[in-house]
């Protein structure tokens, strides 16, 4: 992995907005695919040990991705992404909201804006996340936390058996 690749993470608390910038050592069309194709998204779209599972994805304006983050013990946290704007290879916007397993959304959600640009074979992705409230943003982490706590618990148990 290339350590020279840029990673920026900024939070404007007053504007209730998170800004994320990351560079990838790949051409723009490939990075675009990794962010917009379900079969690729599911391979990286949840931080291990969580995993992502897309039930369906219609990547078109007005279309949706219905997916879950799954913890190691099988707990599922469902969410719906609705695509509000797409400019192929350079930009897409979506509205993300948590949902139950039957796709009933818990509104309000958050607005996501993705920008892609390439220079010398390095692709830069800029992500802006606007949240109406902090509690909504906090929920984004809830699922992760469940998975993480379980992992730590497993580790504790493993250490206990070794002791």
């Amino acid at each position: 992995m290339n350590n020279d690749l840029l990673f920026d993470f900024n939070v404007d608390k007053a504007a209730k907005t998170v800004y994320i910038t990351r560079e990838f050592n790949a051409v723009q069309s490939l990075v675009w695919d990794a962010f917009t194709k379900a079969e690729l998204l599911d391979q990286w779209g949840a931080p291990a040990p969580m995993r992502a599972k897309t039930k369906y994805m219609n990547f078109e304006v007005g279309g949706r991705r219905f997916y879950a983050m799954i913890s190691p013990d099988g707990q599922e946290r469902w969410a719906v992404q609705e695509f509000t704007s797409i400019t192929p290879k350079t930009n897409f916007k979506m509205y993300n909201a948590f949902a139950d397993k039957d796709e009933n959304r818990e509104l309000p959600g958050s607005e996501w804006d993705y920008n892609f640009s390439e220079q010398n074979g390095i692709t830069k992705v800029d992500i802006t996340i606007f949240n109406e409230s902090f509690e909504r943003l906090e929920k984004l982490l809830e699922g992760f936390k469940i998975g993480f706590t379980i992992t730590l618990k497993n580790l504790e148990e493993l250490l206990a058996t070794l002791a």
Binding site: M1, N2, L5, F7, F9, V11, K13, A14, A15, K16, V18, I20, R22, F24, N25, A26, L30, V31, A34, L40, Q43, W44, G45, A46, P47, A48, N131, S133, F134, E135, L137, E138, L140, L141, F144, K145
Partner: protein, 105 residues
């Protein structure tokens, strides 16, 4: 309803109040004077800040002084750090995936 910390910080007057009392605890009257606001307006802001635990009241004789609760702000920053960490993990996974795809070509 419990106040949301993002909503609380989003207001410029409330940010100014926080900045001020981070330096020195103040009574509502002192705040009203510093910001040239009515007591009622100050009370409303205090209520919001207090409900999301960004400030703490402390009785001192007949007066109530409001202190900045740095711990709450730290909790918030700690949470953001975790959020950042999750993204870092995901992006590293994506690096790995992109490398794999490129090698297959």
């Amino acid at each position: 309803m419990k106040q949301d910390i993002f909503q609380a910080i989003a207001d410029p007057t409330r940010r100014a109040i926080l900045t001020l009392i981070a330096i020195q605890a103040l009574t509502p009257n002192a705040m009203a004077e510093k910001f040239d606001m009515s007591r009622q307006a100050v009370s409303k802001h205090i209520k919001v800040l207090h409900e999301c635990e960004l400030i703490k009241p402390e009785q001192c004789g007949r007066e109530i002084y409001y202190h900045f609760n740095a711990k709450k702000m730290q909790e918030f920053d700690h949470w953001l750090a975790q959020f950042r960490q999750n993204w870092e993990t995901q992006f590293n996974q994506l690096d790995h995936l992109l490398t794999t795809i490129n090698e297959q070509k």
